[in-house]
Amino acid sequence: MSHPPNESPSLMRRFFNSWSIILPLPGLLSHAAMFIVIGSGIALALAYDVNKPYDALQVMILSNPGATFIRGIHYWSSQFFLVLTGLHFADQLSRNGEREITPGSWLQLCLVVPTLIFLMISGFILKGDRSGILAREVLDGLLGVVPIGTSILKFLFLGSSHTLQVVYLHHVATATLVLLVLTLRHGERVWPEPRSIIYVLGFSMVLAAVFTPGLNAEASGVHVRGPWYFVGLQEILHWTSRPIWVVVLGMAGFVFLFVLPFVPKGCSRKIKCTILACLIVYLSLIVIGIFFRGTNWELIWPLANS
């Protein structure tokens, strides 16, 4: 039961109830998105060259319309996958779905969050342009806050700084396999439903055609922004001199997510509200970072950003 029969449904429930009138539930859509990302990623890998990634992408964008389109599908379907997975979590948490599965299964599902984040950021790094290289440096720096076995840990996740080989390996193989193993077990189906595929693929194709993802051109000197979902993190890192707290905060968030089924319902509701509030704050930081930050990290009015 998602809620006691005499209570009116929460805002979240009402939102997802309306959603399900027009579209399949987020879980089904995100499932389809995952397959489309993987499929388009395999296709894209044929045109990608990890030895000269920046050049390979430039050639793709400038002279290969098919590759550009596939890349666009891969990009947009991955954005959909991220957002729809988030909505799926919200959907399930709003109906207390975490209490209906075993603790082991819930742990696996919580592990989807860092896996998905790693997949997104590794994809961004694999562009090989200035923003991608700098994102790698930031991730390298964040891994560096771990006090023991730092160089081994950094190598395991990111490899050496001269090549993107290890990042590529994890993006196309390791993290993808882990994601598949973690997600496919909990759902009712292995293969996505056709309706969801059509929606996600259809919208990805339209967006890939209309808003082709680009590539960072300038070599230096201009304010660089990470992917939109990490701009909030960039803002947080701008304000703190101790990145270890960001790592600790992230891990605390994970722990709070994991303990949800094991605490009383009232407490669980409070934790969920806190997580939602943090998400709203994070989204506001994303808005500030995108629209109110100019060159050299100065605060500006939006539209003054050229």
Binding site: I133, L142, V222
Partner: protein
């Protein structure tokens, strides 16, 4: 009997995985040592203009005949500082600012840019920058 056999198999399996794990960690260490040993020194021409110039992961500040050679890695999270605004060096990732000779001015970084050891090779007319230890 079954329980004992299962226990034995668990221990055997665990031991095998632990052994492979040790080899795996040793492999990683070997890779890291090789990378470090093969890291060549960086060479830069000696007639760089005065003021600040950026060279990937190295920043050179020249004042007449004196050089200050610094790592371009921001001491906050290791991003490459490659932007200059006026008399300040700015990290593009999170906005830390340094003076031209690497002293931290504004956070989030709290430490100065690391100074690198170098020597001038007058014969080849170049600056030789040793890789950091």
């Amino acid at each position: 009997m079954h329980r004992q056999r299962r226990k034995f198999l668990w221990w055997l399996g665990g031991g095998l995985i632990a052994t492979v794990g040790i080899f795996f960690l040793s492999m990683i260490r070997g890779i890291l040592y090789r990378i470090k040993a093969e890291t060549a020194p960086k060479y830069l021409p000696v007639d760089l203009p005065s003021g600040v110039t950026f060279h990937d992961d190295v920043i050179v500040y020249r004042d007449a005949d004196e050089f200050i050679i610094m790592s371009a890695r921001c001491t906050h999270l290791g991003c490459m500082v490659d932007t200059r605004q006026g008399e300040e060096l700015v990290c593009p990732c999170h906005g830390s600012r340094y003076s031209m000779d690497g002293k931290v001015l504004t956070g989030p970084a709290t430490r100065n840019l690391a100074r690198l050891r170098y020597r001038i090779d007058s014969k080849e007319k170049r600056i030789v920058i040793e890789p950091p230890p």
